[in-house]
Symmetry: C2
Amino acid sequence: MSTTGTERAATLHDVAAVVGVSPRTVSRVVNDEGGFSDATRRRVLDAVEALSYRPNIMARGLITRRTSTIALVAPVISDPFFTEVADSVQRAAREVGLNMFFASTDDDFDRQVAVLDSLDQHAVDGVIVFPLGEISEPLLPHAERGLQMVVVDTPTEHRNLRTVSSDLAGGARMAVEHLLATGRRKLGMIAHVNSPPERRWRETGFCNALPDDIEPLVVRESADIDGGRRGIDRLLELRPDLDGVFAYNDLMALGATRELKARGVDVPREIAVVGCDDIQISALVSPSLTTIQIDRERLGIEAVRALLALRDGEPEDSAGSVIPVTLICRESA
Amino acid sequence: MSTTGTERAATLHDVAAVVGVSPRTVSRVVNDEGGFSDATRRRVLDAVEALSYRPNIMARGLITRRTSTIALVAPVISDPFFTEVADSVQRAAREVGLNMFFASTDDDFDRQVAVLDSLDQHAVDGVIVFPLGEISEPLLPHAERGLQMVVVDTPTEHRNLRTVSSDLAGGARMAVEHLLATGRRKLGMIAHVNSPPERRWRETGFCNALPDDIEPLVVRESADIDGGRRGIDRLLELRPDLDGVFAYNDLMALGATRELKARGVDVPREIAVVGCDDIQISALVSPSLTTIQIDRERLGIEAVRALLALRDGEPEDSAGSVIPVTLICRESA
DNA sequence: TTGTACGCGTTATCAT
DNA sequence: ATGATAACGCGTACAA
């Protein structure tokens, strides 16, 4: 028997045949179920090594309905914020023996449905999702089908859904207070055009933090650099004497800053800019970005924890569910 | 029969029962194999819709040995270059009905082995990998086991391996020529500490492009911002009159630039810096980064194409395998 | 401590 | 055009 070709991978059966026991015994050893002698154990493990046997996850999953795989679904893969979350989720998953899928929906509603469908078929053990649009539409049907999901920054009320949130409203408040504290009064916000009412924490935080004599001014754009550029354009059109801006995320804040620079407006002297996320770039650009830092590390850990709790049927611990944020003061405000 | 609970997902059997045909017929319709009447087709598809039946990929994969899933394995998820490649791979994969796994190895050799093992078990149809260390060690055993892989920027000679490369040596040459053309003569390179001889395209390109009267000066550091900082430190120690630097990637170039800024050295007047990759940030920082642009879009497309060719047993097309790179001139050099 | 029989949901083979 | 039966590789229930 040659061992060099593209032969079929060894199965439980092959190992059993080599050792001279039943497949069931090999299965017991491999899964460490107990109920076998030490001698058998040794011989089986040796054979496993020799044949480089690996359990077939699909065959196993067909029975156990577990795949040891979770997925992270984010709107865009090109926003560093989401990849940094992915990094954290992956580490947290790895520590408990879970693999992580990373899928992006391209900020496209239909794509989100397709992605969730696909994950459903692949029988992932659970999904962590930064949802698009209203939660009810795409997520609930899948939850109803039995797909367990942790939804970020969005309240949920379903036995197959859990929530993990950052204190975005608090963050927005901190941003406004910082702007006010530095003497800014003509404030505007560049918000995300696609976020539904139920997830407008930043907007409500922003508006609520304004003193009574300041009118809320909010424009909505796509959540990327170009959106930031267009956002500042529109704000300046609406209020030419603008002196402070809060952006939905750092990418938009970066876009706004660059547009201001291009117009010859000095940041922060003439207009101060505060972002949200604290992605890695934000410390590197010039002027470096003042921003609300979201704790991606903890977000990933909490999300995986919540997913495991959901899987194992543990009750929701209403405690540590809202992750605090931090104002990072740099040059832009 | 209630449709609200956490019932088992509908199976081929359930659909067959509703329609009143055999499971095999339903399978035929679902997979569009032909061999059924139009009337049957209609009725089956209606039932599929009604029961929201989705094929179980694991059961299917158990027999077809296909999962319609590929994986991308990169050293780090936090380097925008790799996520931008991932974005491209995902789009290319999606167009041919493939799902994409994204896994990172944390620049850790053992992790790479573990990740490949895991992907192997999950029976992915193929893997695109930015390898760590020598190709022989971790990759060949898996290739030998039957895992088909496309390896980036690394020559391969195995029936289960293919290569997709960018013209990195050419890029390095362009970088050097640009530095020379702007009057720089005291050149140094900050290389990647972990890249094995077989993958040092940038280094050889750099050294070969130097005129005879310029001694190659190369230091090796980790491929991140801090590595860039340390790299420029060491270069300046070795050659205090340094006036031009080529970095392994943009992250390192960014780190070097920041360190120079911190030391009060003017970039590019005193020292010019050229990076490699052209990640999104590079256009945003100040001074913006002159760099060798790698075509991530095409890299992803070619990699997926190569993987499909490998899967389908098509011969290697030696043609379009090396992807050209472009010098992007900005402020830093 | 170990083995046997069955089933997971699908596709392949062969028959009708 | 359609169906019956086996097979993929594993875990579960139960028997020995």
